[in-house]
């Protein structure tokens, strides 16, 4: 009996949104080579929320920058939406970022001489939206993020938490399939951090895939999955669930407060 062997498909049907294979990054400087990332394999599915934790210098930000094409890897592969992207030119990466990858940074990086509205609208236009569509998205995002009344204000006049919400609106304006966030609460006080985290939680609940780099455990605990990066390698990769029912959480309070 002859078994039917299917031929391998010519186009890779990858269910994952993002796939890193054996990724490395070596920085060469005066003091010699620093191996910042030493072989990371990682898969992120569409609509997954993954947090990356680890001590300073563990390579968290370098990893995120490589995923977003801001830093080329030394070796290894990056697959995005079934397409290999690690060899793309800077210009191609720029197009990919505008259309498919949103970035949120610790220090907001908003365009200071444009209004809040224009910051968001420009990102939508760069992402390929028509003028009318860009305006509609801007209005929708700003009202959803409670920033409608600040539309005509320059970002510098806003409080840190508000600026970060604008930065999130801008990152989402291009309707990215992946949102990358690098310490988005790192520069915010506790209550503004909570606002930004709740916002990320809501965005994720709508099916947005997020990779979040953070040292803030509260931020990381919002994610479905937490990666611990240590010395440029994945030391742990765990699905995090809340303990079942409020009594267990309350038992934690007892243990901690007692």
């Amino acid at each position: 009996m002859i078994r039917h062997v299917p031929r391998p498909p010519t186009v890779r049907q990858d269910p994952a949104l993002l796939r890193l294979v054996g990724l490395t990054k070596v920085f060469r400087g005066d003091g010699g080579a620093v191996r910042a990332i030493r072989g990371v394999d990682l898969t992120v599915d569409a609509s997954e929320f993954v947090a990356v934790m680890g001590p300073s210098g563990s390579g968290k930000s370098t990893l995120l920058h490589m995923i977003g094409g801001l830093e080329p890897p030394t070796s290894g592969e990056i697959w995005f939406d079934g397409q290999r992207v690690d060899g793309l030119s800077q210009a191609h990466w720029a197009v990919l970022r505008r259309r498919s990858i949103g970035f949120v940074f610790q220090f907001f990086n908003l365009v200071s001489n444009m209004t809040v509205a224009d910051n968001v609208e420009l990102a939508a236009l760069l992402g390929g939206a028509s003028r009318r569509e860009a305006r509609a998205r801007r209005e929708e995002l700003l009202s959803e993020l409670g920033l409608a009344s600040k539309a005509g204000t320059p970002p510098a006049r806003l409080a840190g938490g508000e600026q970060q919400r604008v930065a999130i609106a801008r990152a989402l304006a291009g309707r990215p399939s992946l949102l990358l966030a690098d310490e988005p609460t790192g520069n915010l006080d506790s209550s503004n951090s909570m606002d930004v985290l709740r916002l990320l939680g809501r965005v994720h609940a709508r099916g947005q895939a997020i990779v979040l780099v953070t040292h803030d455990a509260r931020a990381a605990s919002m994610a479905d999955r937490v990666i611990n990066l240590f010395d440029g390698m994945v030391a742990d990769d765990a699905v995090i669930r809340a303990p079942v029912g409020p009594p267990v959480a309350a038992a934690g309070v007892l243990r901690l407060s007692g």
């Binding site: 001590p55 709740r198 455990a217 240590f230 030391a235 742990d236 765990a238 038992a251 309070v253 901690l256």
Partner: protein, 215 residues
């Protein structure tokens, strides 16, 4: 790490702490303390005992009233002790002379036992309130496991740290849910949760330090 193991190995429960650096002695005392099971749970005592005294300072009450008052004051964030724990605690307080009780006859229901604060109880309560509370925990159950695990033949410390981190993160997720549920609710409950979140963050930071130093 070798230093700790060396100390831990020397620390059998009956031994005196070996002479050496204050740090080593401190670690040794910590290990000895932690090895005594009653010590691990001792911290729970005051958590129920003294709030009961405080509630009784206002007016005499019976067990169920105290349970309800505790729940009203601290909300969901406070683990409500079951009625059995309340009665056991009240009996111990009475044995220690801090409360006294008398049966109140009820015609349609079984008699109830009403507790009230004694002068000694009032003094104990005042002393508790005036005393500064304990600072950082010097006993930590997880750290004990981390230090002693090689003696027990469990050598994969990374796995131990990872399991603990997952557990903390899961607790953190639970607390975030609890915080959302109390958004705009009782201030006592919100502050209690925030305190637990901050402690947990510190525990996670410390876990990271253990990983950096010991692995």
């Amino acid at each position: 790490m070798e230093g700790y193991e060396h100390v831990a190995r020397q620390c059998r429960p009956r031994d005196r702490p070996p002479t050496g650096s204050a740090f080593a002695v401190g670690v040794c005392q910590y290990v000895l303390e932690a090895l005594r099971p009653q010590r691990i749970y001792a911290g729970r005592g005051p958590v129920v005992r003294l709030p009961l005294l405080a509630l009784l300072a206002k007016e005499p009450a019976h067990g169920y009233e105290l349970k309800n008052l505790l729940e009203q004051t601290f909300g969901e964030a406070y683990p409500s002790p079951n009625i059995g724990q309340i009665y056991v605690t009240l009996q111990r307080l009475e044995r220690d002379g801090l409360v006294s009780s008398q049966d109140v006859v009820q015609t349609t229901r079984p008699n109830k036992r009403v507790y009230e604060l004694t002068p000694a109880g009032r003094d104990a309560l005042a002393a508790w309130i005036e005393d500064p509370s304990d600072g950082p925990r010097v006993r930590d159950d997880f750290f004990m496991k981390l230090v002693l695990s090689p003696l027990a033949g469990a050598t994969d410390r990374l796995a131990l740290i990872n399991r603990q981190r997952r557990h903390y993160l899961s607790l953190m997720r639970g607390l975030s849910g609890l915080a959302d549920a109390h958004e705009g609710g009782s201030r006592t409950a919100r502050l209690l949760i925030e305190g637990a979140v901050l402690h947990l963050q510190a525990d996670l930071d410390w876990l990271q330090r253990c990983q950096e130093e010991l692995l």
